[in-house]
Subunit: 195 residues, 2 copies
DNA sequence: GGAAAAATGTTAGGGACTAACATATTAATG
DNA sequence: CATTAATATGTTAGTCCCTAACATTTTTCC
């Protein structure tokens, strides 16, 4: 096996993330020191920073973006951009939701209730926005996406964030999928009056 | 004069902000220490933190939100929400733009080019989003704004951010007002195909 | 002018993060 | 298997953001 190294790296990475998450949920984000996380994972604090650039990244990092880009690109181009993003998201979200609802809820709640994390949520979502833009834009990726595509992408991210926020505010009781659909509806029919 | 205190506070606040801005533009955000900013403004570093909770807030803080809320609320309620926000923004933005274009450009560029600031931009814009939501929602403010209003508000903030980003990426050469209008257009006609 | 209140300074310290260097562990080679 | 190179990890010392506690000054009010 020439890949013992990578497997060990994956293990430490996972150990760090899980230790961090456990401690965050138990004692709160601010009260948990990097030193402690590292100790819990059996490494030194330097090793932590070699795996995650900052303390915040342990929570913020996720890796769905390439998938999202492909899904958007796979939508029929005759559909309006907003619809393509919507269908792409809803083609995969229900499965993730069904499988990891609790983890998703805990993570979202931690994100929303910790000021410094909440403030960086959009940064983490920025990756998804880029994915949407690229999925909507020129398949070759040669030229930058037009402003319209970028606006739609950012609006979709905003709608998703709003839906998840409402979900967490409601203690995760309501159906997130329904909220997401409602949010996209509001985007697609911006002329409709509220309440 | 019973308000010498407030005037002096305003002066120190302004001195701190200007010193910070000058040093940031000259040496970069990271390279500028709070100690230095305080010294430049003739106070100690503790005083700095008594005026601004964090180093980032010197750049991020602005105070347009109450105005925005009022402007949105003042729009005719027969108009669709998106239109109300658009008209509200465009009723005041051109004047600000005409007067403070260069300062606005420098500030935006600093924000966008400094990772830690960029990541907190949406947080700073969150205040505007709340203002939009309140402006769109129940005038009494008794009940929370409906999801539709929140989505529209977040989408508008997203559109504005996208427009400003494009403006800065273009070195501030294009007309920002036109970009903002184009961004709102893309929101109002999400069905239109791109390019 | 003197007391109360508010602003500011001083000092000490915690905690995130970095740089430099030392050490250990794994991989490739003879 | 021993050696050497590459990579991962640890140690230490230090910078900087930010806070707490307390002392000192400045402003306001009586």
């Amino acid at each position: 096996m020439t890949h013992w190294r990578e497997r060990k790296r994956e293990r430490t990475r996972k150990a760090l993330r899980e230790a961090a998450f456990r401690l965050f949920v138990e004692h709160g984000y601010e009260a948990t020191t990097v030193e402690r996380i590292a100790a819990e994972a059996g490494v030194s604090h330097m090793t932590f920073f070699r795996y995650f650039p900052t303390k915040e990244d342990v929570v913020l990092r996720d890796d769905y973006d390439p998938l999202l880009e492909e899904l958007v690109r796979a939508q029929p181009r005759r559909l309006p951009p907003l619809r393509r993003v919507r269908d792409a998201v809803l083609s995969v979200f229900p499965a993730v939701y069904a499988q990891d609802r609790r983890a998703l809820y805990l993570r979202s709640r931690l994100l929303l209730s910790t000021p410094i994390l909440r403030s960086r949520m959009p940064e983490s979502l920025r990756g998804s926005q880029d994915a949407f833009e690229r999925g909507l834009g020129d398949p070759s990726g040669a030229e930058p996406p037009p402003l319209a595509a970028r606006v739609v992408a950012s609006a979709c991210v905003a709608a998703l964030t709003t839906a998840i926020t409402a979900w967490v505010e409601n203690n995760g009781d309501t159906d997130l999928i329904a909220l997401v659909e409602e949010a996209f509806d509001a985007l697609e029919a911006p002329g409709t009056d509220d309440d």
